[in-house]
Structure formats: structure tokens, C-alpha cells
């Protein structure tokens, strides 16, 4: 019985991972663009970026999901549950990642920009080859922490019907009247995946620190 439930709930792992990783990736790239925008000399661009980040962060994720899944079809096109979830979490992730990058950027010693200047590098070259790579490495622990948070948020995708871990746990609980076991297993799965992310992150961090002394 226990094994059955475990196998059922585990069927959701694939989509849980997919939603989390896809959103992290897309959100990470978008966040990079936003962070670049936040450094822009144009006041309009900075204002737009600032507003985007502020608006995204003050609305609960579940509201965004519902807005995108139920509301978008009226306005533009219909997205599948999975697409809506990925779009929703990507948007949310992009705002948080932009803030993480911003902190990373601030921690780069000013001497780095000075050296690049003295060597004759223009701002774009400096950003591309000197600043961003370092900021990214410094930000890795924070990104890993956020990834774990995103993993837990992904459980919300079940509310719009994505067949991930929580969805299957719910089904199992309702049909077999085994609420405790179903959700306990779901909980263990989430914790296990979080631990894996945490271990990978820590290993990477230590390796980077040993090799290049950054972060």
C-alpha cells in the first residue's frame, strides 16, 4: 500500500523538476536582462524595470498562475496548464533573480572596473567578460537558495492542474483516503530534492572558492 502510494506520487517528480528548472532557466535569463536594464542610463528603462520587479513581487504566485491560466485566453491565447505554470514561475523568478544579480554586482570590488578601464576596455566588454562572470559566481549560493524556494512554490502548479508531485498526492489522498501517507511522501520528496540541490550548490561553491577565491 505504502509502495503503491509512493509510486503514484513519484510520477509527479518529472513535472515538478521540469517546472522548477525551466522557470529557473528562463527566469534566470530574463533576470539578467532586467539587471542589465536596471543599470541603464535611461531613466525610462530603469523605471520600467523597477516597476516590473515591484509589481511581480507583491502579488502571490497563486494569483499570477490563475491570472495567466484563466485570464490570458480572454486576452490573447490559451496556454496549457504546464505552459501557464512555466510562464508564471519564469516571470516570478525573473524578478527575484534580478535582485540577486543586483546584489552580486554590488559586491564586485571597484578595482575590477578600474583595472578594466585602465586597460582600455569599453563598458560592454567590461560587463561581458569581467563583471558579469564574477557577479554570477558570487550570486550562486543565493541562486541555489532561490531554486529551493522555487521548487516549493512549484507545488502551486497543482492548483491549475499540472500533474506534479502535489497533484498526485492529492489524487491519492482523495481516492485512497490516505491523506497522511500521501502528503508525507510528497513532503519527503520535496525535502529530498531540496537536499540534492543544496549539496550540489555547496560542492560547487567550495570548488569555486578553492579555485578562484571568489565568493
Amino acid at each position: 500500500m505504502f509502495l503503491d502510494i509512493f509510486l503514484t506520487v513519484s510520477r509527479g517528480i518529472a513535472l515538478t523538476l521540469y517546472v522548477t528548472l525551466a522557470s529557473l532557466l528562463i527566469g534566470g535569463i530574463l533576470g539578467l536582462l532586467l539587471a542589465a536594464g536596471a543599470q541603464s542610463r535611461s531613466r525610462i528603462i530603469r523605471a520600467v524595470v523597477g516597476s516590473y520587479i515591484n509589481i511581480v513581487r507583491v502579488v502571490p504566485p497563486i494569483t499570477w498562475l490563475f491570472l495567466i491560466y484563466f485570464g490570458l485566453p480572454q486576452f490573447a491565447f490559451k496556454l496549457s496548464t504546464l505552459e501557464a505554470a512555466v510562464v508564471g514561475f519564469s516571470v516570478i523568478a525573473s524578478a527575484f533573480m534580478a535582485e540577486i544579480y543586483r546584489s552580486g554586482l554590488l559586491s564586485i570590488p571597484v578595482g575590477q572596473r578600474e583595472a578594466a578601464w585602465a586597460l582600455g576596455m569599453n563598458p560592454m566588454t567590461t560587463a561581458r567578460w569581467i563583471i558579469t562572470p564574477q557577479a554570477f559566481r558570487v550570486a550562486l549560493p543565493a541562486i541555489a537558495t532561490y531554486a529551493i524556494g522555487l521548487l516549493k512554490d512549484s507545488a502551486l502548479a497543482s492548483t491549475i492542474g499540472v500533474h506534479e508531485i502535489t497533484y498526485y498526492a492529492q489524487q491519492s489522498a482523495k481516492q485512497l483516503h490516505q491523506g497522511l501517507i500521501s502528503f508525507a511522501i510528497a513532503g519527503v520528496l520535496y525535502i529530498a530534492i531540496s537536499l540534492i540541490i543544496a549539496v550540489i550548490s555547496r560542492r560547487t561553491h567550495l570548488m569555486l572558492r578553492k579555485k578562484i577565491g571568489v565568493a
Binding site: I62, L67, T159, G179, G187, I191
Partner: protein, 218 residues
């Protein structure tokens, strides 16, 4: 601009939901913060059983997605013979979740208080409890308050989850309204605006609080 008239029409239906969301948030904080303090103190306890209980309570409380915690309690409590209404279940789940995160902030605050303070309190004649309450805790709170305030804002956002176990808060009402009017986009945009404005107001208060706290800090 017909959506404005729609919004004005829907607001009265949404408002009770706002009250419930705020009540849910308030109760979760009321129980969650003291729970967090308790967990942070027992984490350093002499008794292994207390330490382990605290450890598991914290790891489960924050290791599980809040939604899963909510479902866990909602589905499992009745099976164990405990019949609670949705609101209570939601409060317990959110308090546990909030308390787990809060315990980390309290621990950080407590460990930031210099050891000398505890000794000074003891030698000044305070009982252990009074010394903690009057000397250690206020100093710890100065450090912990900003992250705790941010946590409070997150708890408010977390209250939206109570929707799935039929607590009649904002999301719940919004879903009802949208199901009847089929104006999904409009309704949920209004919902987003409502959450956004309240959260914004909260965040503004947090900033004020931080500024006041740092007023006479060096």
C-alpha cells in the same frame, strides 16, 4: 473603461475575503512568531529530545511547501479523529510554516547578542527568565525584526493558499466571482491589484519600522 465599473461591482463581494485573509494572516503571525521563538530557544536545549523535536518541527515546517503542509493537515487530521474547520486548519499550517522560518531569524538575532549580556544579566540579579525577557530578547529582536517583518508580508501572500481548502478568503471569492461572470482576466487582475496594494502598504510599514529601529543605532 468598463472594467472599472465591473471592479466596483465586485469589490463588495471581495471585501469579506480581504477581511478573512487579514484575519488568517494575523492569527498565523500571532501563533507563528511565538512558536518560532520557542523553536529557536529549544534548538539549543540541554535535552536531546527537545533539540530533535525542534529540529524536525523546523525542517518540516519550512522544508515542505506551504501548500503540502496545508493539505497534509487538512487530509490527515480528520483521519486521526481531529475535526477542525478549514480556517483553523489553515491557521495551524501557516503558523507552523511561519514559525519554522521565524525560528531561524530568532536564532540569528539571539546569537548576535554578545555573550557578555547574559553574564551581566545574571550578575545583576535577574532571574533567568527575566534576564532573557528584559535584556537578551529586546536586543535580539532589534536584529530579527526586519526579516520577521518581511516574513509577515510573505505570510499574507501565503494566506492565498488557504483557497484550496475552501477558506473564503480573497482568492476563493475571486474564483467564485470569475466562475459566475466568466470575466476571468478582469477578476484576477483586480485580485492581483488588491493583493499588490495591501502588500505594498505592508512593505511600506516595514520600511518605516526599519527606519525607526535604526534611528538611534550607530
Amino acid at each position: 473603461m468598463s472594467f472599472i465599473t465591473d471592479w466596483l461591482e465586485w469589490l463588495p463581494e471581495l471585501t469579506p475575503g480581504i477581511a478573512i485573509s487579514l484575519k488568517l494572516t494575523g492569527l498565523a503571525l500571532l501563533f507563528g512568531f511565538p512558536l518560532g521563538l520557542l523553536l529557536s530557544v529549544t534548538a539549543e536545549s540541554k535535552f536531546a529530545s527537545l533539540r530533535w523535536s525542534s529540529f524536525f518541527a523546523v525542517e518540516i515546517g519550512r522544508g515542505l511547501p506551504a501548500l503540502v503542509l496545508l493539505y497534509l493537515l487538512y487530509f490527515s487530521l480528520p483521519d486521526m479523529g481531529v475535526i477542525l474547520d478549514s480556517m483553523t486548519t489553515a491557521v495551524i499550517a501557516l503558523s507552523w510554516n511561519a514559525g519554522a522560518y521565524a525560528s531561524e531569524y530568532f536564532r540569528a538575532g539571539l546569537s548576535a547578542v554578545p555573550n557578555g549580556q547574559k553574564e551581566a544579566a545574571k550578575t545583576s540579579g535577574f532571574s533567568t527568565w527575566d534576564g532573557f525577557r528584559l535584556i537578551i530578547l529586546p536586543q535580539a529582536l532589534r536584529i530579527s525584526t526586519p526579516p520577521l517583518a518581511s516574513l509577515a508580508v510573505l505570510v499574507f501572500q501565503g494566506s492565498a493558499l488557504a483557497f484550496v481548502i475552501a477558506v473564503p478568503e480573497i482568492m476563493s471569492r475571486a474564483y467564485e466571482i470569475s466562475s459566475m461572470s466568466f470575466q476571468y482576466l478582469s477578476v484576477f487582475t483586480l485580485t492581483a491589484v488588491v493583493y499588490g496594494l495591501i502588500t505594498w502598504a505592508f512593505l511600506g510599514l516595514v520600511k518605516l519600522l526599519e527606519r525607526r529601529l535604526n534611528r538611534h543605532m550607530v
